[in-house]
């Protein structure tokens, strides 16, 4: 019984939140890593793109809600998502032809593209705040929980509750589905193979007749779709606030670099490692061990490795250590 209580406690405060946060990070990091692998620059505007896509989704969701359209126990935002993705893709393709294409054709060095993306970050962020404002926006509806902590306690008779939010379930499910779809696309389809070829060796790919503009276009479409999806899932789970989305960029890059920049598999692994390390390293294990140990050995201290103030330091510390010993990341990406 006590062992079960300990496990449920650990799941409720560590495993479930970390899985959901990890899935959100993985989807974001995947977009960053795709752009890096194929377009060969770190896209600092990814967080802002995410905010833009989410903003579209929020506005469409509100419109749907005003029309009385709902999606049963699932959030209405999922119905609005495809439309938001289309809008975000159009926006990103426009920015590509207006900004990045010029530098690409001029064969500019990656650092110039990076700085151009920083500029795009400010422009996109400003646009989002101009349209929807800088405040918090709630757009989640439908059932909030798959299972509530209190219901779980009553059901099982345990001391500890386990809560799983609908948004957490959706995030994890969507991350798994998207990852499977993306791997199938990259490994099995002609377009996917041409993208990988372009990523591996641009000149050779061009010689074998791959249309570079098409590869670039498909990459932007995928990145925009991933950004919108990640943004909407994150917004459903927490809330939508444009400024916070810019801040998400740091854990995205940490996840992508940790896994190996340019390697989609690495981005996913990196996302979960960052999420789990942030939460596990700063969790206070007092109650957990109080269940496992005999009563007279129960801990009186919090048993916290790091105060929560240091959670960012934790993920970056791991990043630094990994890069010292494995400069291309855990899953062999391009060296940074």
């Amino acid at each position: 019984m006590d062992i079960l209580n300990a496990l449920v406690l650990f799941s409720n405060f560590v495993v479930v939140p970390a899985l959901a946060y990890g899935a959100q990070l993985a989807l974001g990091a995947l977009g960053v890593t795709l752009i890096y692998g194929i377009l060969r620059f770190s896209n600092f505007a990814h967080g802002a793109t995410m905010a833009f896509g989410t903003m579209c989704c929020v506005l469409i969701t509100w419109w749907f809600q005003s029309l009385g359209i709902s999606f049963g126990f699932l959030p209405t935002a999922l119905l609005a998502l495809p439309f938001a993705i289309v809008l975000c893709v159009v926006f990103v393709l426009l920015t590509d032809s207006a900004v990045y294409k010029f530098y690409r054709n001029a064969k500019s060095s990656p650092v110039i593209l990076v700085i151009a993306s920083v500029g795009m970050m400010f422009v996109t962020g400003g646009l989002v705040r101009f349209i929807i404002g800088p405040d918090d926006q709630q757009f989640n509806d439908g059932a909030r929980f798959i299972i509530k902590a209190r219901e779980f306690k009553e059901m099982t008779g345990l001391n500890e509750g386990l809560a799983i939010k609908t948004s957490q379930g959706i995030a994890l499910f969507a991350a798994v589905a998207v990852v499977i779809a993306l791997f199938w696309f990259l490994n099995k389809t002609r377009t996917g193979k041409s993208m990988r070829a372009y990523s591996d060796n641009e000149d050779l790919a061009l010689l074998s007749g791959i249309n570079p503009e098409r590869v670039v276009r498909v990459t932007w479409i995928l990145a925009a779709a991933l950004a919108t999806l990640a943004g909407v899932l994150y917004g459903l789970d927490k809330s939508f606030r444009p400024f916070t989305y810019d801040q998400l960029l740091l854990p995205f890059f940490a996840a992508a670099i940790l896994g190996g920049l340019g390697n989609p598999f690495g981005a996913i692994g990196g996302g979960f490692i960052v999420a789990f390390s942030e939460i596990m390293m700063t969790y206070a294990y007092k109650k957990f061990f109080a269940y496992l140990l005999p009563e007279d050995m129960a801990p009186t201290e919090l048993l916290q490795l790091f105060a929560t103030n240091y959670k960012f330091a934790v993920s970056f510390l791991i990043l630094v250590i990994v890069l010292i010993f494995m400069p291309t990341g855990l899953f062999k990406g391009k060296s940074v």
């Binding site: 409720n12 405060f13 560590v14 939140p17 970390a18 946060y21 405040d135 918090d136 709630q138 929980f145 509530k148 902590a149 209190r150 509750g161 809560a163 939010k165 994150y234 927490k238 809330s239 606030r241 400024f243 916070t244 801040q247 998400l248 854990p251 999420a275 942030e278 939460i279 700063t282 969790y283 206070a284 294990y285 007092k286 109650k287 957990f288 919090l302 916290q304 105060a307 929560t308 103030n309 959670k311």
Partner: protein, 412 residues
């Protein structure tokens, strides 16, 4: 209104200041006898941030102070009929060097007999140590709330009609204790406001016999608060005190704590009190409680009535500004002198009981009572009660979330 950047600037320029001060002090020595002799009107400095981050607040604070000055001047009862004149000077709220210069001008070339101000904590501290203390000038600030000013070396020259944030910690501790919660988990937003309030609260609550199971910071605007919620939940406690902002990390923490079933009841200090929070969280927040500055004293309403459409007297710190100016002039009357060294000791006497209670608009009456050797207890527009090192005891509105909306439980 804490401003650490300004303090840094101030430290860098301390040496320069000392040189200037030596000059300023000698000029002041020459100027003060002239003042004491009683030629011309009594001048009072209105030392507020007419430009800078709080200029929109100052637009209502300065007229508040000047209204009290005009009232006294027109009554013709101050020290046998002296006229009083307001002299404005700009603190800028953020630039300690500019504020110090402006304060020097007030004291040395304008020859003011007292100063209403400054406004932001950083510039107020700089002007106090650089100019007011060396020149023996009384300052009464209507809006500096940093707990640091309570312990500043002021030779009894500095007062404020605004409460220190430290006071709110004590009030919050009282409210929690009265509701019978003996252990709390505590999280605060990682800045001067959050840290100051959390420390003040933790000290007061522990002294009252409560237990703070964990006292930890959270960063605003971050992606995920699962780690913070996990640590708070592991530490446990009857209620969770969230000294943060309602549209920032504070909300994220509360949402996370409710979702995981870690805490059901939350304590909300002023940064968390607003209609947006119950609206965003919903019925789960019912039963949570807290406090924010506010008073139901008749004085506040009376000031608004007196002012009419001239300016917005219900704007933050407008009432405190009126009271700051009134206190200076009443203390002068009680001391029968415009010399700061004499009337600084009378500020407490006129502000606190015993004596006849004085509301806004009754300054003439108060001057008369004092002239006849009577005593007054100045209540004013912000329910003034000076405590400790000469700061307002502070009035707080206790709130509780009922039916997904804020409701007022009482005032304390």
């Amino acid at each position: 209104m804490e401003n650490p950047a300004a303090l840094l600037v101030f430290q860098r320029e301390t040496f320069m200041k000392k040189l200037l001060l030596a000059t300023a002090a000698s000029v002041a020595l020459l100027a003060s006898p002239v003042l004491g002799a009683g030629h011309g009107p009594v001048k009072i400095g209105v030392f507020l941030g007419f430009t800078g981050p709080i200029e929109s607040l100052v637009a209502n604070m300065a007229p508040g102070a000047e209204l009290a000055i005009k009232e006294v001047s027109e009554s013709g009862k101050l020290l046998g009929g002296k006229a009083v004149e307001a002299v404005r000077a700009d603190t800028t709220c953020v630039d300690a060097a500019a504020a110090t210069t402006a304060m020097e001008t007030l004291v040395t070339s304008e020859g003011v007999a007292g100063v209403v101000g400054g406004d932001c904590s950083g510039v107020t501290g700089a002007a106090l140590t650089n100019v007011a203390v060396p020149n023996g000038m009384v300052m009464i600030s209507p809006s500096a709330t940093s707990p640091g000013l309570s312990t500043a070396e002021d030779n009894g020259l500095f007062f404020r009609t605004a409460p220190s944030d430290a006071r709110q910690g004590v009030v919050m501790s009282d409210i929690i204790m009265e509701r019978g919660f003996k252990s709390v988990a505590l999280t605060y937003t990682n800045n001067d406001y959050g840290k100051g309030l959390a420390d003040a609260f933790a000290t007061a609550y522990t002294a009252a016999g409560g237990t703070v199971t964990i006292n930890t910071a959270h960063e605003d605007g971050k992606a995920d608060y699962a780690a913070e919620v996990g640590a708070l939940a592991a530490a446990g406690g009857d209620v969770l005190v969230v000294a943060g902002y309602l549209d920032q990390g504070g909300k994220g923490i509360i949402q996370g704590a409710l979702d995981t079933g870690a805490f059901d009841t939350f304590v909300l200090p002023d940064g968390m009190v607003g209609d947006a929070l119950p609206k965003a969280i919903g019925s789960d927040l019912n039963g949570s409680f807290g406090q924010a500055p506010g008073t139901d004293s008749p004085g506040a309403g009376k000031l608004v009535e007196m002012v009419g459409d001239a300016f917005d007297a219900s704007s933050p710190f407008a009432a405190e500004s009126y009271d700051a100016a009134a206190l200076i002039m009443l203390a002068m009357q009680a001391a029968e002198s415009t010399d700061p060294a004499a009337y600084k000791d009378k500020v407490f006497d006129v502000a606190n009981a015993p004596g006849e209670k004085i509301l806004p608009g009754e300054l003439g009456k108060a001057l008369e009572i004092l002239a006849n050797g009577g005593e007054i207890d100045y209540v004013g527009a912000s329910n003034v009660e000076l405590i400790g090192p000469g700061e307002s005891a502070g009035n707080y509105r206790e709130i509780e979330i009922k039916d997904e909306a804020l409701s007022t439980v009482g005032y304390r």
